[in-house]
Every structure is written in C-alpha cells, then in structure tokens.
C-alpha cells in the first residue's frame, strides 16, 4: 500500500513537472498559424537569430484556431494569427479577434488591396489560383478565361479540386463579385457538367490526373504546380494566366493579424513589420514558391519563369464577405 502511494505521488509530481515545465516567459511571441510548420519555421528561426526573441507556435486549421482564441477569451496566449486565405482573415476580423494596427512600415510595404479594412490584417505572401493544362493535349490558344471552362468544348476534360477547400470558395467569391450570383451559377454548373472525374481532395491530385490523362485542364494554386515541377521538371503540364483582358487572375494571400487579447502587442507588431521587409519577404515567399506582397522585392527566378500576369485587384475582403454565398452557390450547382 505504501509503495502504491509513493508511486502515485511520484507520478503526479512528474506529471506536474511535465505540464508546467514550459511556462511562458514574456519575451516570446506566441503564434497561432494555419500555415504549416515547415513553411513558417525557417522564417521564425531567422527572426530569432536576428533579434533573440523566441517564437512559439501552434498549427491547425484556421476556423479551429479562431474558435480556440474565442474560447480562450481574455487569457489566450496567442499574439499573432497567421492564415493561408484572405477569407479566413476576414472572418477573424469580423468576429472581433483581430485588432487594428497603425504602422507606417506595413502601409508602405503592402499594397492596399492586400490589406484588410481598418488594417486589421495584412497579406504576407501572394499566390495565384490559375489554369493548368496538359501540354500534350491542349493548345494554349484554346484557353482564355475561368468562365470559358464552362463551355461545351471542355466536356469530360475538366478536373477540379473539391468545393470544400477555401481556395475555391474565394475564387467563386471573386466570380460572384464580378458577375453576380445568377451568372456565376451558370458558370459553375457548366464546370460541373464538364468534369472528367469527381472533384479531388487536393491540387496535386488534380495535376496528377491531368498528367495521367484523366483530364486535360484544371485550376490550381501556383505553388502546388511549382512543387510538382520541382520534383520532376519533365511533366507535361503548364500554367496559363486567364482573364488577362478582363478582371485578371484570381489571387489570394497568406497573411496575419494581431490578436485582440494579445499581451505582447508591440513585439507582435514589430515581428509583422519585419515580415514585410525585403529579407523576410524573400524567405517567406521562397519557402513555398509564392510571390512576395512587397512590390519592391524581386520575385524568385523559378516563380518568375512562369510568366507575368495581370492580377485581379478586387480587395481581398471580398473573399470573406462572399464566402457563405459562394458555398451555397456551389452546393446548389452540384459542385462537390
């Protein structure tokens, strides 16, 4: 019996030790990130090397992080929220989680259509959601716009990612803003009737299907294309920039905002400002083959080799404002 009690006391103390051994020290910035660890850790390490300020972080899906911050309330340890889609940032601001940041550095370095209203969030890297096609079976002069993919000539040749992914929701939100719901419904229904296979769960699978011949044309984020080409430069697919004579290619950002209940506001803002400067922008964008938001920063040569294009300059807050409408539209049109 004695032995049992001793073991219990020992285990309990050990447990307490483990639980509280990493009690926070205030010269740390805490980040909740929807951007995956391998895409942010190098940037964090660089900052720590330069400034000796440590950054601790957690990754998860954006809506879950939002909910966690809300549930934790005043006592949330988070200082900064990083997400991978503007819609998510808009929702965070909308639900009162982010606070406005007045910083000349940030306003100077980041174009206004990539910043949230009231300066509550800031894009840090840019990606385009564009058309990818098989170089073996499709001539680029046959491609023109996103809307054109709904035409009958693409019957059984289109492959798409699931409508559940926020990137597609933001794309549809852009189409809704440009054409209105009625016309966008026609477009989406056209896409659905042209599908060569049920929607895939990720962009990489979309491209693999095109390579294997299951489809001829699809819509993907530029960096997924970059990753696949990096692994095997000989794959017979290429990017096409649609809508060049109309609104422009749909772009989105991975960005961040300062959490309302943050206790480390100054440190968080300083980190954000650092992220918008040239060195950080280059590292951040290069990690994932994205485009920097700071227009003065040169684009990575590999990424630049895909070509220049006209971006759609609708303020990205639209991605959040029209997200619900976009989802309902896609559901009604049968786009799974």
């Amino acid at each position: 019996m004695n032995k049992l009690i001793h073991t219990l006391i020992f285990s309990f103390s050990l447990f307490l030790l483990v639980t509280y051994s990493s009690a926070a020290f205030s010269q740390e910035i805490a980040v909740y990130s929807a951007r995956k660890e391998h895409l942010i850790k190098p940037v964090f390490d660089l900052y720590t090397k330069e400034t000796h300020i440590k950054i601790k972080y957690l990754t998860d899906k954006a809506p879950v992080l939002l909910q966690r911050i809300k549930a934790e309330g005043e006592n949330t340890p988070a200082d900064l929220l990083i997400t991978v889609d503007a819609g998510n940032l808009w929702h965070a601001a909308n639900q009162g989680i982010l606070q406005p940041v007045n910083s000349d550095v940030l306003t100077a370095n980041i174009p206004s259509y990539l910043r949230g209203p009231e300066n509550k969030w800031f894009g840090l890297s840019l990606r385009a959601r564009t058309i990818v096609y098989s170089t073996e079976r499709v001539k680029p002069d046959k491609l023109s716009t996103y809307e054109d993919l709904a035409e009958a000539k693409w019957k059984e040749r289109l492959v798409l990612r699931t409508s559940k992914k926020v990137y597609n929701q933001s794309l549809i939100a852009m189409l809704i803003k440009e054409h209105g719901e009625k016309e966008t419904t026609v477009i989406v229904k056209g896409w659905v009737s042209n599908l060569a296979a049920p929607p895939f769960s990720n962009d990489t699978k979309v491209m693999e299907a095109i390579i294997a011949g299951q489809g001829d044309v699809g819509i993907v984020n530029t960096y997924y294309f970059g990753r696949l080409v990096k692994k095997d430069p000989t794959i017979p697919i290429a990017l096409f920039w649609p809508n060049q004579s109309s609104g422009g290619v749909h772009v989105n950002v991975s960005g961040a905002g300062v959490v309302n209940a943050s206790e480390n506001k100054a440190a968080a803002i300083a980190f954000l400002e650092w992220l918008s400067t040239e060195k950080a922008q280059q590292v951040f964008a290069d990690l994932n083959m994205e485009y920097p938001v700071n227009p003065d920063v040169p684009i990575n040569p590999t990424v630049a080799s895909w070509g220049t294009f006209k971006q759609n300059k609708i303020n990205l807050k639209n991605a959040g404002e029209n997200q619900a409408a976009a989802i309902m539209l896609m559901d009604r049109s049968g786009y799974k």
Binding site: F15, V18, T19, Y20, S22, A24, A30, K36, E37, H38, K56, Y57, L58, T59, D60, K61, P63, V64, L66, Q67, R68, A71, E72, G73, N75, P77, H91, Q95, T162, K164, V166, Q169, A197, P198, P199, F200, S201, N202, D203, T204, K205, E208, A209, I211, A212, Q214, Y224, E263, Q323, A324, I327, M328, D331, R332, K336
Partner: protein, 572 residues
C-alpha cells in the same frame, strides 16, 4: 453487519434506533448528503458529470438559431448527406461484422494452418489510422496511381471496367478494413471465454456445426459483438479525415461545412446534437434488446485438442481469406508507405521525429492508464447500482466517441477555459497573484479531452467482461472471507484481465491515431505524429506523410502485440 464495505454505504445504521428525532435531524441529513457525495457512487457521478459537460455544451448551441444555414442544408444537402451516411454506416457495419466475427470464430475456435499467427496478426490493422489507409488506397488504386498506370501501359489501354476507388464502395471497403479489428477483438474475447457446453448441447440436440454457430454461439457473444459494432458505428459517424480524403459527403462533413465554411459554430453544434441523439437512440435500443439475457457462462472454450479441426478445402479457405484480409488491410499499405518513405527520406527525416514519437507515446500511455482506470471504476459502479440516474449518467458519459473530434474539443476548451477563469479568480482572491492560465493550454486539457472522447473504448470491453462475474461468485467469495480490495485483487481482476488489457490496448492505439482533438487542444511545442501527418496530407504531400505514418504504425504495434500477448496468457 454486511462484510462488503462499499455496499454498506447505503445501510442506514439508525435502523437500530427507533427514535424519530434522530432520523430527521438536520445534522443527520447533511451527514447523509456528505456521505452520499463522497461515497464511491458519488465520486463516479461527479467524474461522469465532468465527462458529460463538454458533450452537453454542444447541446447549448441550440440557444442561438441559424435559420439561413439550416434552410440551405435542408434544401440542398440534407438528403444526400443522410443517404450517404446511411449507406456508409450499413456498409461498414456489415463489412466489419463479417470480417470481425468470421475471423474471430476461425481463430478462437477452429484449427487450421497458421492459426497461431493469425490470432495476433489480425489485430495489426488497428495500428493503422483510417485516414492513412484512405490516402494509401487512393494513391494506389486511383486513375493516376501505379496499379492503373501499369495496367494501362502494359496490358490494356482502356480501363473503364476498373472499379473506381473514389466511390461509396471504396469508402466502405477501406473503412471496414480499418475498423474490423474492434469487432474482431471483442468477438474473439467472447468466443474464447464462452463455455463449450453451449455448443455441445446445441449439437447434441441435433444442430449441425453451422447451425450451432448461428443459433447458440453467436447470440451468446452478443454483448461483445454489439459493443464492437457500436464502436465501429461511432467511429464511422465521427470520422472526418478518411471521408475528406475520399471527398465523400457524410453528416459529419456537413457539420464541418457549417463550421469551417459558414463559420457558424452554433449550426455545427446543432447538427452534432442531432448526431448524438441518433447514436443515443441506437445505444438504448441495443441495450434494451439484451437486458433479459444472461451471459455469464464461464470456462475455457477449447483446449488445443478440442478445437474444431478444419479439413480439406475448408482449411485452405480459412487460410486464404485471412491472409487476404491481412495483406489488403495491413501489409500492402505498409509496403506502399515504405516505398514512399524511401523516396522522400532526404526531405523528411530529421531529429524532430524523436520528439514527435515521444510525445505520441506519452499521450497514449497516460490516456490509456487514466481511461482504463476510470472505465474500470465506472463498470463497477454500473454493476453495483442499477438505478436510473447511475445507469443514464454512465450511458451519457460514453457518448463522446460519436462526436466529431474537433466539435468535442470545442466543448472541452470552453469548459476548461471557464474552469480556468474560476480557479484564477479564487487564487487571486486568496493570494493576490494574477495568473494567466492554470489548466488551459496544458496537457491536462488534452488528456481530459481524450477521456471525454475515448471513455467508451475503455469502458465497453471492461463492462462486457463484467458479465462474467456472477453474483454467486461474489457471494461464494464473501463466505470464504475474501472481501473488499482483496475480492477485487484475487477474484475480479483475473477474470477482468482480458477486458482490461483489451481496453488499454484500444485506448492506446486510438489516442496514437487521434488527430483533431490533439490539434486543437495541444500546448505549444506538443506536436505528435498524427499532427505531422495532418500537416503534410493537408498540403497534398502524401508521400512525405509516409514517414510519420510508418512511425505511428510501428509505435502502435509494439504495445498492441505486447498487450495482446498478455491478454492471451490469462487463464480465463
């Protein structure tokens, strides 16, 4: 005076004193209340309540109405969701029943070449998470995968006849292969410990072997098989990872659409409540159907000599079918993972993996210990007291398994944050120190969340084993002077050992594979292997996810095999 200490809590010693004033004095009443709360039953009640509250918090979502979202769901999605979910549940239940019960019968009762190997090997798929099996199968069998590509280039150019893996059939097959071990384990327990007398009597009365199986052995194993199938049903309903990879729309994906797409936690909570009510009804119906039957035949099923020896083609069918199951559910996926791992080894492998592995094992071990202990405690209370409140409290506390992980985690985080604020306030009042957080953001939250979710896995198998302990056994022990903790140690635990080891095993492996709750509740720097797999697969990097997947499977295998061996060695 009764010798059994725990039962005497309820004995009113004032029965010896006829003085009415003593009965109803305030002091006596409050003493009785304190006694009630601190009695074992009271503690169990409080603990169960702790587990139920996060689940109840989900129901509180009805306080805020979301007419637009419900309107959209009912108009556009509901029929499809329900149809798909029903098809999935029925398919997976049928699949796991056939695979699990069939395999259990063959290995527990029959004799054929390779039986000893299959006995423990058939559990191996338990270590493979459903979402891993999902992306491996799709990676292998989809249009652009190696199998079809090989066939297209070498054999025949048009593969229209090749079954489409990304279909409802595909999901059902993959989930059945991943989940059959639950049924297999519990059914095997049942068949092993059934008395052979039932079968012998049945056959003496003229039934053939097959009929004896269906009419006698199978019904006798009902609570175990039902427990296993309940676990499977709840896992299927709550699953999000695998169905997302298949892009198969179930009720749970609808819940997540409400939350991740429409950002309405209330709508998500309301849908989850509907799910819970459905599961609750199923549990009640199932339990009502078996209250009258006694299941306490005790005795070793077979010595080596008295197993049913299979002859001729029968034994090769047994061998062949079990090999096929193992190959498809375990060895081929592991092989594919190894191939992917070797290809991406330079990119992925680094020193962080040791930390990931350690943390996965740490969480799993603690959760297994806590939940098995709690499950045992609850099973005892369930057995001693069969009144309404106790029964229903315990039933409610095992519902967490059916809730999608992230939704449950929200309930837990809300509850823990609330508790945190109260504790911090108390500490501030007492000592003036303002702390930021006590429980929130620590591993206590994580373990608590695991308990809310996995209590069923621990409780069910122990509860089923409890059936083996008859009242007469208790009474005989009391007469012989073995009571209280001694009774527990010398008589009960040996009988329960099988159930205890199974419970620990199931919880350990379940927590290893668990992803959404870990993601949401973990403290900074506490990433596990499952978290790593999520990070990579959500970026479409399936090949890089092979390394953490293989590590997770191997880490889960070792305790699986150990615990299985221990439960095999028990005498009953």
């Amino acid at each position: 005076m009764m010798a059994s200490a725990s039962i005497s809590e309820n004995m009113n010693i004032s029965a010896c004193m006829p003085n009415r004033a003593y009965h109803y004095s305030l002091r006596n009443k409050s003493l009785n209340m304190i006694r009630a709360v601190t009695s074992l039953r009271g503690i169990a009640f409080v603990l169960a309540l702790g587990v139920i509250i996060p689940i109840l918090l989900i129901f509180s979502s009805f306080l805020q109405s979301e007419p637009k979202i419900w309107q959209h769901i009912v108009d556009t999605l509901l029929v499809d969701l329900l149809k798909n979910t029903l098809m999935l549940c029925i398919g997976v239940l049928a699949g796991t029943f056939v695979l699990g019960v069939g395999a259990a019968w063959l290995t527990a009762v029959c004799d054929f070449p390779g039986r000893k190997f299959f006995n423990w090997a058939l559990i191996l798929p338990l270590a493979v998470p459903t979402y891993v099996l999902a992306f491996v199968f799709i990676g292998l069998l989809d249009f652009s995968g190696p199998v079809q590509t090989l066939l297209r280039t070498n054999v025949v150019s048009s593969l229209k006849w090749f079954p489409n893996i990304r279909s409802s059939g595909g999901v059902i097959v993959v989930m059945s292969l991943a989940l059959y071990p639950y049924v297999y384990l519990l059914a095997r327990n049942a068949f092993k410990t059934q008395g052979k007398r039932v079968l012998e009597v049945s056959q003496a009365l003229g039934h053939s072997q097959a009929k004896a199986f269906f009419k006698a052995a199978l019904p006798m194993a009902r609570p175990w098989i039902a427990s296993g199938l309940m676990l499977v049903l709840m896992e299927t309903l709550a699953d999000f990872g695998a169905v997302s990879i298949f892009n198969y729309d179930t009720f749970t994906t609808g819940i997540y659409k409400a939350w991740f797409g429409f950002f309405s936690l209330s709508a998500a909570g309301q849908l989850s409540s509907v799910l819970l009510i459905f599961v609750f009804v199923v549990i009640i119906v199932e339990q009502q159907m078996r209250t009258k039957i006694q299941f306490n035949q005790v005795g070793k099923m077979t010595t080596e000599a008295s197993r049913i020896r299979l002859n001729g083609w029968k034994k090769w069918i047994a061998f062949g079918s079990l090999s096929a199951i193992l190959l498809i559910a375990f060895f081929i996926p592991c092989l594919q993972l190894l191939i992917w791992f070797v290809r991406s080894i330079s990119v992925e492998l680094d020193s962080r993996y040791i930390g990931l592995l350690f943390r996965s094992i740490f969480f799993s071990s603690i959760a297994a210990a806590v939940i098995t202990g709690l499950g045992l405690f609850m099973a005892y209370i369930q057995r001693q007291y069969s009144d309404f409140t106790t029964k229903w409290t315990i039933r409610l506390s095992t519902m967490g398994y059916a809730l999608p992980g992230t939704v449950l985690a929200v309930g837990v985080v809300i509850m823990v944050s609330f508790a945190d604020r109260q504790i911090i306030w108390v500490i501030k009042e007492i000592s003036g120190i303002q702390l930021n957080s006590i429980l929130n953001g620590t591993i206590v939250t994580v373990i608590f969340a695991y308990t809310v979710r996995f209590l069923t896995a621990g409780f069910n198998s122990i509860n089923s084993s409890m059936f083996r302990i008859t009242r007469s056994l208790d009474e005989a022990s009391t007469i012989l002077g073995v009571t209280g903790l001694n009774l527990l140690r010398r008589v009960h635990i040996p009988i329960l050992k099988n159930g205890l080891y199974t419970a620990a095993m199931l919880v350990f492996v379940d927590v290893m594979k668990e992803m959404p709750i870990t993601l949401m509740t973990r403290p900074f720097g506490w990433d596990t292997l499952a978290v790593k797999i999520f990070e990579l697969t959500s970026e479409g990097e399936w090949q890089r996810a092979a390394l953490p997947s293989i590590t997770l499977i191997l880490a889960g295998l070792i305790p699986l095999i150990l615990l299985n061996r221990k439960s095999e060695r028990t005498t009953i």
